[in-house]
């Protein structure tokens, strides 16, 4: 019994020591989307928030073309929770990423259109959602889990 009590107390001490410090609430939302030009190496650079990443894999996934990034503009916004929403002209999907250990890891791939890609997609920050406007008059509300509501003008 004595041994059991010691083991339980030890575990409690260990668990307490391992608890992560959490600061909240935190708002990661960008007020407006960024439109970033992809360079010849597939890199995009966000100057205001000072970060960059490679887009080759993203374009490969979307277009199945390893050089599909050339001459493209990427539209990017971050929601309140810190997820990055990425898409581009003629994309059928919106990609949701979160940052992890020097990389962006895909959290969700939200299918928007079936056959043809979106024309002139754009993101707006509409907390707690991200508004997606595409094909001139289509609008969707997204979060990292997917589409929240769809409206057609």
């Amino acid at each position: 019994m004595k041994t059991l009590i010691i083991a339980i107390v030890s575990c409690l001490v260990f668990i307490t020591g391992c608890t992560n410090l959490v600061l909240k609430p935190a708002d990661f939302g960008w007020p407006v989307e960024s439109v970033l030009k992809v360079d010849n190496n597939g890199m995009v650079m966000e100057k205001r928030y000072s970060f960059s990443f490679n887009t080759r894999e993203l374009f490969l996934d979307e277009t199945s073309d390893s050089s599909g990034f050339r001459g493209k503009d990427l539209r990017l916004i971050r929601d309140n929770k810190g997820y990055y929403f990425i898409t581009a002209n003629n994309f059928k999907n919106v990609y949701v990423f979160y940052p992890d250990n020097g990389s962006l890891v895909m959290s969700n791939k939200i299918a928007i259109t079936d056959s043809t890609g979106m024309t002139n997609p754009a993101f707006n920050q509409r907390p707690p959602y991200i508004e997606l406007i595409y094909n001139t008059d289509n609008k969707l509300y997204l979060n990292n889990d997917g589409i929240f509501e769809e409206k057609t003008r």
Binding site: E33, V35, R48, R75, N124, I133, R153
Partner: protein, 418 residues
């Protein structure tokens, strides 16, 4: 609790529907705002008149009113600016530019008055220059005209001085304050400078001022102080031209106009410099002429030294032929002219301006001393007299000593015999 949830959901759906009616890209709103701000900024910068500027006041107010509903979005998105600071920055630009136009308008009035004054003074200088030229000729015959000539020269000098100051002021007033403090000129400012320089004949007036100063040097004989003040004036003109001229040449070149006229000013400065140097030699030559002394022509320290040495050598050769007048000529040259005038008045100026070296001055004075020695040969008779006296004294002393020795030896012989 359930009711509250339903109420919140209804509010959220209505807020979504509200935004739905004007669904548009936030990015586009921000970009349009930025682009409109830049467009107004450029317009303000390029405006040619106060009237043109006033239209931007309305545009700024319109921009502020149209985007008031997007203020939150713009405040967050225009980092490091915000909505208010962007609008304020436009209003500030507008005010600064308006102020500039008001100043330009004042300067334009001032410059146009200056232009008229310069034109009057130019006419007057031409008349005075002709008058001085005539009086110089007449004063050679009629000494009574000398006073009149001096007065005319003084008037001309003062008139030139006033005109030159006006030309410099006019050029200064053309340059934007920013440029004078090391800034650069915008295309609009270049355009304005070109237009004003053309209207006010800046280059012509500048060159005219240099030419007339050169002419003034040629028609008058001056003292070192006068030449120094002209030299200072030349340096002031050169400084003004160095800071303004290259930019003006560039502005003219860009329009392919009057470049030759602007470039001529550089060579005019060389002429002015040479005229100042020559004026010193010409005035010195006049001093010699006033005493009827004719030296070989000279226009440099070396030639001047050689001319005086040649003159003194000729005078030395002619001492016997000239007789008594040789002394008189020497006295006029040495006492009245060289030591009385040239050396105290002109030599310091020539040395200061590197037109004569100390070695050359010493050579001249050695030549004058040699001339003096030949005019007044040294009398050595006193030396013979002193020598003869010394020899006589030595002989007397020696004779006395011998006499004394003889007497002593005689006295000692007498003592032995006794």
């Amino acid at each position: 609790m359930k009711n509250l949830k339903i109420l919140l959901s209804i509010i959220f759906i209505f807020s979504l529907l509200g935004s739905y009616t004007y669904a548009q890209q936030d990015y586009k709103i921000v970009q349009d705002f930025k682009s409109k701000v830049q467009q107004i900024k450029d317009g303000i910068k390029k405006a040619d008149s106060l009237a043109e500027l006033s239209q931007f006041e309305g545009e700024i107010n319109q921009l502020a009113a149209n985007n008031a509903s997007n203020r939150d979005l713009l405040d967050k998105s225009l980092y490091p600016d915000d909505f208010n600071s962007s609008i304020e920055s436009l209003r500030k630009d507008l005010e600064v530019r308006k102020e500039g136009f008001t100043q330009i308008s004042v300067l334009e009035t001032r410059v146009s008055v200056l232009n008229m004054q310069i034109s009057d003074l130019n006419d007057r200088n031409v008349e005075l220059m002709a008058q001085v030229r005539n009086l110089t000729e007449q004063s050679k015959i009629d000494k009574n005209k000398i006073d009149l000539l001096q007065r005319s020269i003084a008037s001309l000098k003062s008139s030139l001085h006033r005109r030159d100051d006006l030309v410099i002021s006019m050029i200064d007033s053309l340059m934007p304050a920013d440029f004078r403090n090391g800034g650069t000129l915008s295309n609009q400012e270049k355009k304005e400078i070109y237009s004003k320089a053309q209207k006010r004949n800046i280059v012509e007036n500048f060159q005219n001022a240099i030419d007339e100063n050169i002419m003034f040097l040629k028609v008058t004989t001056l003292k070192p102080d006068d030449i120094k003040s002209i030299k200072d004036k030349k340096e002031q003109f050169e400084k003004t031209w160095r800071s303004f001229g290259p930019k003006l040449i560039e502005i003219y070149s860009e329009r392919g106009e009057k470049i030759n006229n602007a470039k001529q000013i550089d060579s005019a400065f060389e002429k002015w410099n040479s005229a100042i140097d020559q004026e010193a030699w010409r005035s010195i030559s006049q001093e010699f002429s006033d005493f009827d002394i004719r030296l070989d022509d000279y226009s440099s320290g070396m030639e001047f030294t050689q001319a005086i040495i040649s003159f003194t050598q000729d005078e030395i050769k002619n001492i016997k032929t000239k007789g008594d007048s040789a002394v008189k000529d020497y006295l006029v040259f040495a006492d009245s002219l060289w030591f009385g005038n040239i050396k105290p008045i002109w030599v310091p100026y020539l040395l200061d301006n590197d037109q004569l070296t100390l070695a050359q001055k010493d050579k001249i004075e050695s030549a004058i001393l040699k001339w003096k020695n030949d005019v007044y040969p040294v009398d050595y008779s006193w030396l013979y007299i002193v020598g003869s006296l010394l020899i006589s004294i030595i002989i007397i002393v020696l004779i006395k000593r011998n006499y004394k020795k003889k007497n002593e030896s005689l006295n000692s012989d007498d003592g032995v015999k006794e």
